[in-house]
Amino acid sequence: MKLTSENLRLAVPVLSLLVLLAGVFYLQPRAMSYNGLNLLFNLAVPIALATVAQMLIMAVNDLDLSMGTFVSFVACVAATWLHDTPLLGILVLAASIAVYAVLGVVIYLRNLPSIVVTLGMSFVWAGFAVLLLPAPGGTAPEWARAVMISKPPLVPMAIIASVLIAVFAHLVIMRSSFGVLIRGVGGNERSVQRAGWSIILARAGAYALAAAFAVAAGIALVGLTTSADANIALRYTLLSIAGVILGGGEFTGGRISAVGAVIGALTLTLAGSFLSFLRISPDWQIGAQGAILIVVLGLRLLLNQLEKKGKRA
């Protein structure tokens, strides 16, 4: 494998994941099993999907502050309508994907700050979620439950799902012309436009695809938890942003990495388990997660400097 800057970018997230994994195995050797791995990474699957969704929004230089409430909303729909009246559930989810596409276009046409529009939308999704499920409850659709608790031979479901998500997102973002287009919109909107592409279609596509991933995140989450509530995924907003950055993505310029984003999400999930294995007082768990984030980003800076030196040599 050549030491290109793209590979180097991916090196930090991969290394930090491996170091954390080694730490967990050292502290708790029993985690080094089929069931152990599944438990460690189970909750990472919905987070990875939400992170890929956030990454698609960030690819076009926007930021989605409603990711957490949207995933919560989807979870509520999945646990109620999608379970009781599947057709209605599918229609509602399709409509919400359409809403995202419209948002992507409106933000561009009216030159609105995406942060504020999605902030407003976060209230809207939260409102619908509360209307659907005023108290925690509902039932996960059987097929979602079956997929999430399935036990494929040799490799745990959580690992297979993460790899599939990473490969699929990588193919879409890096290998398809649609992926090149939305990264181009993030890099230089005007030149993409002059080359004859429709910015409106590209942005609508990016937002719709992001919504589709977020819908998958909500359904996967319900599959794991079996029931939903309106606040189930609120922390996903910040987790997904942190995951993208941890995985080597940038806020602007269309510089994103699908594989990195999935690894970033896995790292964040693992950090939580690592800390509880370390028996750190629960008071400091959130703080230590912040510290891990800082350390990993510090490492990236170090590698970036090495990369620059390498170029000069």
Binding site: N111, F123, A126, G127, L131
Partner: protein, 313 residues
């Protein structure tokens, strides 16, 4: 008249006054005074954090402080714990809150500068650590504020809540700082173009550093006052101010892309945000519907404001 209409802050006030009338009409004028005073009090807290956030956002794209809620919580808990309901320690308590603010601000900027982490992630990681410290010092206890302070924060002078007067004083100071001092001009210049500001010999790092410290100090003071007002510090007391601090800045007419700030607009937007919620409460809507309406109204205001900008261009 046209000169007034062109001011970017006028619309948030128009919206706030409209909503105020809509509420008063419904109650038949029964709660006019109570509503106005409640609006002034609660808006004052949003104004305090909003001003700090506005200074940071003015620095340009990507600049944002997500550690506001954690700083509020830590300053509130530590100050109240230190004062231990002693009336004589009020000033020392305030100083302690300010020192906490300064420390968080320094730490934030150290991460941004030394590790070159994007501000959104740097302040997010920092907020995890600050929140953990708050949990560790507080341990879920609710400590009462000194009586003098509790009285001061809930009483009025000449019919206006004291808290609103404090916020007004700080707003005037902020306006002066922004429009009549070199520092204010520097912030705007950096927000408009960082390279140009650097070429012009503006101490970019120093200015940004001071701004992040200022934002954290304002958040700390707000936390101190809020803890006294609500009869004790709680660990979740800052949570709603994260979105609030960003929303009031943007609705108030400050450019999200930076370089153009607006102090009066923050007042209009803060009053507006409080009045929307109380109007929907008065009309007797449920929680879910209230959230949806709040979100739609935020988006509508942003759409209207952007239409105005597009027309003037």
């Amino acid at each position: 008249m046209t000169a007034v209409l062109r001011k970017p802050w006028i619309w948030s006030f128009v919206a706030a006054i409209l909503i105020w009338f809509a509420t008063i009409l419904f109650t038949g004028g029964a709660s006019t005074q109570g509503l106005t005073q409640a609006a002034l009090t609660f808006a004052a807290f949003s104004v305090l954090v909003g001003i700090g956030q506005m200074f940071v956002i003015t620095l340009g794209p990507g600049n944002i402080d997500l550690s506001v809620p954690a700083t509020m919580t830590l300053a509130g808990t530590v100050a109240l714990k230190y004062m231990a309901t002693e009336n004589g320690l009020v000033l020392q308590g305030l100083m302690l809150a300010v020192v906490i603010g300064i420390a968080v601000g320094i730490a934030n900027y150290a991460l941004i500068k030394a590790l070159r982490i994007p501000p959104i992630i740097a302040t997010l990681s920092m907020s995890f650590i600050v929140q953990s410290s708050a949990i560790w010092t507080n341990r879920g206890l609710r400590i009462k504020p000194p009586e003098v302070l509790a009285d001061f924060t809930v009483s009025k002078t000449a019919g206006i809540p004291n808290i609103a007067l404090v916020a007004l004083l700080i707003s005037v100071a902020a306006w002066f700082l922004l429009h009549r001092t070199v520092y204010g001009r520097w912030i705007a210049a950096i927000g408009q173009s960082l390279p140009a500001a650097r070429m012009a010999g503006i101490p970019v790092d120093g200015t940004r550093f001071v701004t992040y410290v200022l934002c954290a100090v304002l958040a700390a003071v707000c936390g101190y006052l809020l803890a006294c007002f609500s009869g004790g510090a709680a660990l979740n007391m800052g949570s709603e101010y994260l979105l609030m601090s960003i929303a009031v800045v943007v609705i108030g007419g400050t450019a999200v892309a930076g370089g153009d700030s607006n102090v009066p607009g923050i007042w209009g937007a803060s009053l507006f945000m409080f009045l929307v919620v109380s109007m929907l409460n008065t009309y007797g809507f449920g929680a879910g519907f209230r959230l949806i309406m709040t979100g739609l109204i935020i988006i509508a205001v942003i759409l209207l404001a952007s239409g105005r900008q597009a027309a003037s261009r």
